[in-house]
């Protein structure tokens, strides 16, 4: 974040060596997500990234800030995936949302599912001022706003209430996916969300699907 790269003439993004900071960031992302932030030491990160510890501390002021960077990456990616999924058919937001939910339901009922990285980070760091916690809260805030916009586009009468209800279901899928494996409650995610949306849209409460 300090100096510039100065090689952007013709081959600025060749992936062969890959900057140390980037390798660290990616490896830290995988390890933090799979094993939890506290469970992963900086030595393990640099070892598996094929770099050394000073390289880490040249790019990140501390492990806590590296964790915050991981969360930023994590939610940038998931928010982008959500947006592109919705933008595929802007005319039918409900169907697109349903597809996204079905995908989440599938992932959340797999054996090694690990839930949402931001939620997990907040569990690991309850201290209010911690960088990882601040970033996690920011991620959640952004997703909530995005979900509200989507529900508003569905034409719900009380969009914020419905959006929060759906958010409860989604967070519930994140959490329960880790504890109950397959056959967990996340398997009913789609039809439960359907019932909820139906109720808020005053359509026929049956007749879904």
């Amino acid at each position: 974040m300090t100096k510039r790269i100065a090689v952007r003439e013709k081959v600025q993004e060749r992936a062969e060596p890959k900057r140390a900071a980037q390798r660290i960031r990616e490896m830290a992302g995988e390890l933090f997500y799979r094993q939890g932030i506290r469970a992963v030491g900086v030595d393990e990160i640099v070892a598996r990234a094929g770099v050394t510890k000073p390289s880490l501390y040249r790019s990140f002021p501390s492990k806590d800030e590296l964790a915050a960077a991981y969360l930023r990456d994590h939610c940038d990616a998931s928010l982008r995936r959500f947006n592109t999924a919705m933008d595929e058919r802007p005319d039918d937001p409900r169907s697109q949302f349903r597809l996204w939910l079905a995908d989440l339901s599938m992932r959340a009922t797999q054996a090694d599912y690990r839930g949402c990285g931001a939620t997990n980070a907040a569990v690991e760091y309850p201290e209010p001022g911690h960088p990882a916690r601040i970033q996690a809260a920011e991620n959640k805030k952004q997703f909530r706003a995005r979900l509200r916009a989507l529900v508003r586009a569905m034409g719900a009468k009380r969009p914020d209430v419905l959006a929060d209800g759906l958010l409860l279901l989604i967070e519930g899928a994140y959490a329960s996916g880790q504890l109950f494996g397959p056959n967990g409650p996340a398997r009913v995610l789609v039809e439960t969300a359907d019932a909820l949306i139906d109720a808020h849209l005053s359509k026929a409460p049956r007749a879904s699907r």
Copy 2:
């Protein structure tokens, strides 16, 4: 400090000195829940419990097993609270459940809410064989069974589906309570659950509240 009393003839459970194991268990419970298991060292536990480390390891084979014991206590207590709340008026399970949900909604929208200890433990210990994770999964399994029985008593047509839908909402409240503080999604917990139950009971989908 704290001499012994040696009176267990007639009053064997006076709370004055309290066995070291019990003090450890209680203090570990508080600290583990508030700060997370990994964040709390055994030194802090014994120091704040007013005992010493060997006392801990005489009663518990390891910190991991102490964490498992904490989870057992945690969910024993919450399951007992749930049962007594339901048993107050066995004729009207839905109202009692509604009251319990309202209480959860209130707690989950307070600033320092920490969610469910079992869910948090599973986040901290993703490794499948870990004692804390095993106990956490057991807790969740028991609660799911209890919830299914309750929904069955409500007379729902597909009780397991409704119970899992409600479980998603509950776990969602646990998780989102930690990230969004007050004004978080958990504020709509009761009315969302109502809408869901209505839909499953084929009552008028409106008319809630």
